[in-house]
């Protein structure tokens, strides 16, 4: 392979699309450029507007409490004077009004980091892991928490070990809320037994949602050798992994908005998961299971497949997967070691443009390539909406799919072209696409695209053709 291809692949496939001048800076070895990005801690998103999840969640829980109280008050008021119930209606508006601006500023800050970073590999890895451990803002409170979840639980851990990353994700309030674990109660826990003594109380019990998705989506993978029994038992192990709250009833106590182990909710006793016996040490019982899951060979293989699919090809070559899994196992899940094995894999450099961009990749690379302004808070919202990948809204804990066939629909292509056209119209003759094309696409630039851009009817149309070119659709 000619060296110029390595810079184009480094910037476009491993990075987030070249900015003008970036390819020249990579010089001849894309691999060194990538390895260098792994050497310092991941850069935090420094935006004074952004607040910690604990604060956001504490306030959201208070608003919920207020809503409940005003519903009760309305009930009483309408009994006395029909038609008087508007306290709850105004309280009902408060929560979305509180959450929406948080979502917008988090999306905007993340997008700005992606468009402006000179360590794009770190941003791509952060996005990769956020998608691996997906939460979705379809669930109301997550609109306020998805951004801080990524900043707190994922971004600081992407250059650590998988085990640390896993623990920080599964104990983050956003994940516990998203997969209902705060509600899950051991059937023989103190709380359930106390409740059971009261007549007419409804029974409390486990919710296996988080346990199942940890096994299926976060660690072993669906063919990873666990049974329904393992799911149920693991769900019992992590009963009590919850959140502190000011709310009444069983969510009272602890620091509001922060992880809290509720011993009274925890199912007592030793448990056997995947054949290993775990004595009951309260919170530590779940930590011990997570540690073993992180070190399981099925996890190494599953993570290797996902990374290889993201960086090499939709159907990654088995030899490369095996090499990544080996690096994962030998290093004890040290993520930079796995990334370096990926960068050193011949297969990652063998076929230019093997991956069809997701809408997010497409938009970010467009903004980077054309130096589009990101100052306005709403800059990324409309294109993400139009192209069908609203940030942190995959709609399921499996995250967004990572194969071309999931994104290359006819209507989806039309939306990209429409957006490319709108960008062209907006930039008009302020942008010289002819001169930009080789800077963005490097060795990937085809003669057909260069020709089409050069012979466009207007500078605006040249921008549109560049953004809509086959080699700009792929990475």
């Amino acid at each position: 392979m000619r060296e110029s291809f390595t810079s184009a692949i480094a910037a476009n496939r491993f990075g987030l699309g070249a900015r003008p001048g970036e390819l020249a800076g990579i010089a001849d070895d894309g691999r060194d450029w990538l390895r260098a990005q792994l050497r310092a801690a991941p850069p935090p998103i420094a935006d004074p507007q952004l607040r910690p999840s604990q604060e956001i969640l504490a306030q959201a829980l208070e608003l919920r409490q207020e809503l409940r109280a005003s519903r009760k008050a309305d009930g009483a008021a309408s009994a006395a004077q029909p038609g008087a119930e508007d306290g709850a209606a105004s309280a009902l508006q408060k929560l979305p009004q509180f959450l929406r601006p948080i979502y917008v500023s988090e999306v905007s800050a993340r997008f700005r980091a992606a468009v402006t970073t000179d360590r794009p590999l770190i941003e791509r890895l952060t996005q990769f892991w956020t998608n691996h451990f997906a939460v979705s803002v379809d669930k109301q409170l997550l609109a306020g928490l998805a951004g801080s979840f990524e900043r707190e639980a994922i971004r600081p851990q992407v250059l650590g070990t998988f085990s640390e990353l896993l623990l920080s994700v599964e104990t983050h309030p956003a994940m516990l809320l998203y997969l209902d674990n705060h509600l899950s109660v051991g059937p023989h826990s103190e709380l359930a037994l106390r409740r059971g003594r009261r007549a007419q109380a409804r029974a409390l019990g486990i919710n296996e949602n988080l346990a199942r998705e940890i096994l299926e989506l976060h660690t072993l993978g669906v063919g990873g050798g666990y049974s329904q029994g393992d799911v149920t038992t693991f769900a019992e192990v992590i009963t009590g992994w919850s959140i502190g709250g000011a709310e009444g009833g069983r969510f009272a106590g602890g620091e509001p908005g922060k992880f809290l182990f509720r011993a009274g909710q925890h199912e007592p006793g030793a448990k056997r998961v995947l054949g290993t016996r775990y004595p009951d040490r309260g919170y530590e019982q779940g930590v011990a299971v997570l540690r073993d899951l992180a070190a399981h060979p099925a996890t190494a293989h599953f993570i290797a497949v996902k990374l290889a699919r993201h960086f090499i090809a939709d159907d990654p070559p088995p030899a490369a997967v095996a090499r990544l899994a080996q690096a994962f196992t030998v290093s004890g899940g040290d993520l930079p070691t796995v990334y370096r094995a990926l960068i050193d894999s011949r297969e990652a450099w063998a076929q230019p443009l093997a991956k069809y961009k997701t809408p997010s990749d497409y938009i970010v690379s467009g903004f980077r390539g054309l130096s589009l302004p990101v100052d306005a808070q709403h800059a990324p919202l409309a294109p993400y909406e139009l192209l069908g990948q609203r940030t942190w809204a995959p709609g399921s804990p499996a995250g967004w799919p990572d194969r071309g066939a999931d994104w290359d629909g006819a209507s989806a292509l039309m939306k990209r072209i429409e957006w490319a056209d709108a960008v062209g119209q907006r930039l008009g003759n302020r942008c010289d696409a002819v001169q930009l094309a080789p800077q963005l696409l490097g060795a990937n630039l085809s003669a057909a695209t260069a020709g089409a851009v050069a012979h466009a009817a207007s500078p605006a149309q040249a921008v549109t053709l560049l953004l809509a070119a086959p080699e700009f659709m792929r990475r």
């Binding site: 899950s184 919710n207 949602n209 799911v231 499996a398 994104w407 209507s411 429409e418 149309q461």
Partner: protein, 411 residues
Amino acid sequence: MARMQRREFLNLSALAAGGTLLASRLAFGRSDTRKPRFVLIIMRGALDGLATVAPYGDRDYAALRGDLALRAPGERNGALPLEGFFGLHPALAFLQQCYAARELTVFHALASPYRERSHFDGQDVLENGSARAHALTTGWLNRALERAPAPGQREAGVALGQNMPLVMRGPAAVTSWSASKLTALDEDTLGRLTDLYANDALLATRLADALAADAIAGDGAGSGAGMMPDAPDKNGQAPRARYAQVVRAAAGFLRQESGPKVAVFDTTGWDTHANEGGAQGQLAARLASLDAALATLKQELGATWGDTAVLMVTEFGRTAAINGTRGTDHGTATAAFLVGGAVAGGRVIADWPGLSARALYEGRDLAPTLDLRSVLKGLLHEHLSVPSRELERTVFPDSAAAQPLRGLVRT
């Protein structure tokens, strides 16, 4: 209202397994005169069949469901009447009217061949048409369209959405379509892009498909004037407006003489692990949105409704019992619905396994007694005239044990 005796519907699957010569001969005889339309609605997330079609006559049902159980029709929190054992969720008023008009068939204790509990593999099996996840990379509906006679159509099917769901991927020409709010592209730019994509097989096909769909849409699919692009499902509220918009677009395509005869779209939000609700609540709101969308579809299709069959399916069911958080976890068998003017409805087809502890699959789920592929094979053969041999060979490989159900559509 047409009522079937329990004994009669319990025997239906046995009857179907034998097949009725009369029905299949009729199906062949009329294929040249009808213009069948088919809509597939995938309910992603695992629909709770026991909440949606409540077996209130089963003596174990109320205990498993506690205060979320639906009661007999007419009682407080009562189901809508089907026949004297099953009732429809009260949010499904339009579907109940269809049942009364013999345009709805309900299937129960039905499952795909998938027996694990992963949404993602379950959906893969639901869509790829084989017995295993990831065994095929094309969908059963596309393979069926490839084998069905469809003269004079550029696109045999349309997916309402930007991308193509697995069930519609494959060799047959299909397209996807979603409304846009941006201004139309100019012809010159589109011409240049067509040239630019000439050496890129994938993009060339996609662009041609998109332009074909837009041309049809321009002729009427956009009759829901002022359509907005896919609105997000804000804060988990029931997406009533989005469903209405999607079915209007679907109807616009299906009404056209030379348009696609098959439309597919997704609904989501069925994964009710916590606070599922009973007669009211989360699931009820979702079902009400879907019910309203179906009513809109019938209205928008006009006379074409008479040629239409709409199938609603999900990847698997949910636990028979309520979990510790007033919801249900992933299960096995569930319910499915076939509705439309072309449907020979007014029936519940179920070989009911019961809900006693011993009858439950793996001690927790409704046990499957009807293979989804039996429904699909019967429907594709009788409604879309897909040859039986192709159904066995290419559309649903290794499905010989799942005999097609006959008589699902009107003759």
